[in-house]
């Protein structure tokens, strides 16, 4: 009985990657099976091998990788022995793939419909008219607006969430037996993520296919998967039924992944002293464009953390750009330490620039790949304080110690560091100036959850020791809970709600805050269903 439903059996899968002129194991013996109607969640940090396994399920290895051992059996056919021709007839037809970034996966110069029809036409499975019919049908099922017409738009004419759903539709064009979802919602806002998640869930349920869902976010996979497999460094940590795993993880690693979103900073009472920075009635626009910030005001107090939250396009990053002087405001004023700040970066003097530093979203591009760690951290010290080589070296050592790295890192290039280590170096560079305020722009969003948690802990410790203020720009409410004292919620360039965290996060909320808060996935497998039911009811009541 079981074997009839069995679609995919992977046994002892081994994959190697070409690194430093050698083949190194990436996936070290994974067993996996998938039955019809089932969703398997693959979770793990980056480098765990989850995407590589996802692609291997199609008998495919990325450039620079090779499948070196084990078997991949699809419908009784061994994919490792299949010819290119046979594989072509399986990929995209029987097994489809949905990539992380739909924006990067669509060809920007063709209409969605043309791209949808490409595979069915290529394989002679449908006529043009049938493909069109099918597309409209799928667009409807995925709740895309205007399903009849949306296919004639180009990728840039639809939103990110819609594009991701269009990509799911494309994957389902030939009614595949298996769909591999590779982090399909990671690049989306929480509010948009909900749309895509619920669309995927419905479609997979209705079409009775099987799916592999790859993500680093346990809460997301909890909503979709029947079974979950946890991976670490190319090895299986544990595998089991989704509900029981979330309820009682067997391995310590899984337990840590589960706990990661539950860090909550102790509430501190609001202070009444003169704020370190006052942002007053800022309005700003990019060259001749419409205003993207409208009358934004908030304060940052000494030794406290202010989080600016909102989805992409809410203007939260623009706020940081105005404060740093990259985007001069058209109205309003910023006061730092009671003194007016010139809107233009080049009019600000060095001694004042020292007092606020910034940490960027992508540690990969925020540090010069051609500089060694000691140059990266040492430069602000010699630049602001004009110290000699010896003193700079000593201070760099102290800073490395503060960010919990040893002096062995001094001579390394950024490419020899992990993502988390790079972000630590960025923190050290900011600290090197001994600033009073650090602006953190989405600094954890490019990191794995466990690493991000470490970074947040480090920042909190540094704040306690050095009494700095942080301005945290983020879309992630778990981060806000973990670090913020005060919260500023932004929507469409305006501040919709602000105040101490406990106040903002306790009802009654502003409508948008409510939407934002309720959209954060929880570790409860029924969370998505319950939420959708609740929202439906609300609509009905209206």
């Amino acid at each position: 009985m079981m074997n009839e439903q069995r679609l995919l059996t992977i046994k002892n899968l081994q994959i190697e990657g070409w690194q430093e002129e050698k083949w190194k194991p990436v996936v070290k013996g994974i067993d996996l099976h998938l039955n019809r109607g089932e969703v398997l969640g693959l979770i793990g940090e980056s480098g765990a091998g989850k995407s590589t396994i996802g692609l291997a399920a199609m008998g495919y290895a990325r450039k620079g990788c090779r499948i070196s051992g084990g078997s991949i059996n699809f419908h009784g056919k061994e994919l490792r022995e299949a010819s290119e021709r046979e594989l072509e007839n399986i990929r995209g037809v029987k097994i489809a793939y949905v990539a992380q970034s739909a924006a990067a996966s669509f060809n920007p110069s063709h209409q969605l419909m043309t791209q949808f029809a490409e595979i069915p036409l290529e394989h002679g499975l449908m006529t043009q008219a049938e493909a069109r019919q099918k597309a409209v049908n799928l667009y409807t099922r995925l709740f895309l607006p205007d399903p009849e017409g949306i296919g004639f738009r180009y990728p840039h004419q639809v939103s990110g969430g819609q594009l991701q759903r269009a990509m799911v539709a494309m994957a389902m064009a030939c009614d595949p037996d298996i769909i591999v979802f590779d982090e399909p919602t990671t690049a989306l806002d929480v509010t948009t993520q909900i749309e895509v998640l619920s669309a995927i869930k419905d479609v997979v349920r209705q079409s009775n296919c099987a799916a592999i869902y790859i993500t680093h976010d346990l809460a997301v996979v909890a909503q979709l998967a029947d079974r979950i497999m946890v991976l670490q460094n190319g090895l299986e940590v544990e595998e089991g039924d989704a509900r029981s795993m979330l309820h009682a993880p067997k391995q310590e690693y899984t337990a840590r992944l589960l706990a990661v979103r539950r860090v909550i900073k102790e509430a501190r009472p609001p202070v009444e002293e003169e704020p370190l920075m006052r942002v007053e009635h800022i309005t700003a626009a990019y060259k001749n464009g419409p205003s993207i910030l409208h009358d934004v005001s908030f304060n940052v107090h000494r030794g406290r953390t202010v989080a600016v939250v909102g989805e992409s396009g809410s203007g939260k990053t623009s706020v940081a750009r105005v404060i740093t002087g990259f985007l001069p405001q058209s109205e309003g004023m910023i006061y730092f330490d009671g003194i007016e700040m010139s809107p233009l970066l080049k009019h600000r003097d060095k001694n004042r620039l020292r007092k606020w530093q910034m940490i960027f979203q992508m540690p990969d591009v925020a540090i010069n790949p051609r500089h060694k760690v000691k140059e990266i951290i040492g430069r602000p010290i010699s630049f602001y304080y004009g110290l000699g080589k010896k003193q700079v070296g000593k201070r760099v050592g102290e800073l490395l110690d503060m960010i919990e790295l040893d002096t062995g890192y001094l001579d390394r290039y950024p490419s020899e560091l992990s993502g988390g280590e790079k972000q630590r170096i960025c923190i050290a560079r900011a600290l090197a100036a001994s600033p009073e305020l650090i602006i953190c722009d989405e600094i954890t969003s490019a990191l794995d959850q466990l690493v991000a948690e470490e970074i947040l802990k480090l920042l909190q410790r540094l704040q306690d020791e050095l009494n700095m203020s942080y301005l945290f720009i983020t879309h992630d409410l778990a981060t806000v809970k973990a670090i913020a004292d005060d919260v500023v919620v932004m929507y469409q360039g305006r501040v919709v709600e602000q105040g101490p965290r406990q106040t903002v996060f306790t009802p009654p909320h502003h409508e948008y805050t409510e939407l934002l808060l309720s959209s954060v996935p929880e570790m409860d497998p029924d969370w998505l269903d319950n939420l959708l039911k609740k929202r439906e009811q609300k609509e009905m009541n209206k």
């Binding site: 970066l345 620039l353 925020a366 010069n368 630049f383 560079r429």
Partner: protein, 275 residues
């Protein structure tokens, strides 16, 4: 020094080959008067003789020893092309990087000047300037370098545009760094691999460009030997099935290929640092 040896030990065969050819050419160029069997412009025999014991590569269109001319040619060709390329790069790259980093009126001004220069065919412009200024070797070097620096400027500017929007440059600006520091320490190291790749190619182009100028009588003046003009001068020999023009052609090809082999190796290595 130790690092250099270690580096050479890990180099692939192609790069080693390139390095050997380049070193050999440089040695030959430096020691030309000692190595050459005859004088540079000494007429030793009949025109277009076949190779023999006395004239290992035969003689050229005036009866001069081919091997001698090749050895002296190495000296002139490599020296002139190398100096020209260096000047073109120094000028073009620095201005291009600064233009992209500062932007504004400086960028507009420099870019338009470059556009004006590029609007004329290089060869015709070079002919015009050289016929006004005369044809000494220093003038030749400066004129060709200036004209070629426009190409380097465009490349350097395009490269720097991409790098200047990276966040580590933003970080330096936020710190309050001066433009020169940003260009020199933040942008240049990242633009360098592409610039060096271009250097290999540019060197070859300049080599050939100078030989075309020589052919037209405005480049290196006879009887000074240079590989490019030797190909042109002897090209008539092809009609008689004599291999004479192929020797200088082969040395040009060998040297340019070798330079590019080394450049490729360098690029491969720097890509590894970055990744």
């Amino acid at each position: 020094m130790k690092n250099m040896i270690k580096l050479l030990k890990t180099s692939p065969v192609s790069a080693r080959f390139g390095l050997i050819v380049i070193t050999l050419s440089l040695v030959v160029a430096l020691l030309a008067p000692i190595l050459a069997p005859y004088g540079q412009s000494e007429i030793v025999s009949d025109v277009w003789l076949s190779p023999s014991y006395d004239y290992p590569l035969g003689t050229d269109q005036l009866g001069r020893d081919m091997l001698t001319r090749l050895i002296y040619g190495a000296r002139n060709s490599i020296f002139i092309a190398f100096t020209t390329t260096m000047i073109a790069f120094g000028l073009g790259a620095i201005l291009g990087l600064i233009a992209a980093t500062t932007g504004g009126w400086l960028d507009i001004l420099l870019s338009r000047i470059v556009d004006i220069f590029m609007a004329f065919p290089t060869l015709i412009l070079a002919l015009m300037i050289l016929s006004v200024l005369g044809t000494s070797i220093p003038v030749l070097i400066v004129v060709v370098a200036l004209l070629d620096s426009t190409r380097v400027f465009r490349l350097a500017r395009a490269l720097a545009m991409d790098i200047a929007i990276m966040e580590f440059v933003d970080a330096a600006r936020l710190r309050g760094e001066k433009t020169l520091y940003i260009v020199w320490r933040e942008i240049l190291p990242n633009a360098l691999p592409a610039l060096i790749a271009e250097f290999g190619l540019r060197f070859c182009f300049i080599f050939l460009f100078i030989s075309s100028l020589s052919f037209l009588g405005l480049g290196i003046q006879p009887p000074t030997a240079d590989w490019g003009s030797m190909v042109r001068e002897n090209s008539g020999a092809m009609n008689f099935g004599i291999l004479c023009p192929l020797y200088p052609a082969a040395t040009i090809a060998l040297l340019t290929v070798s330079i590019n082999l080394v450049v490729d190796w360098f690029l491969h290595r720097s890509a590894q640092i970055r990744a």
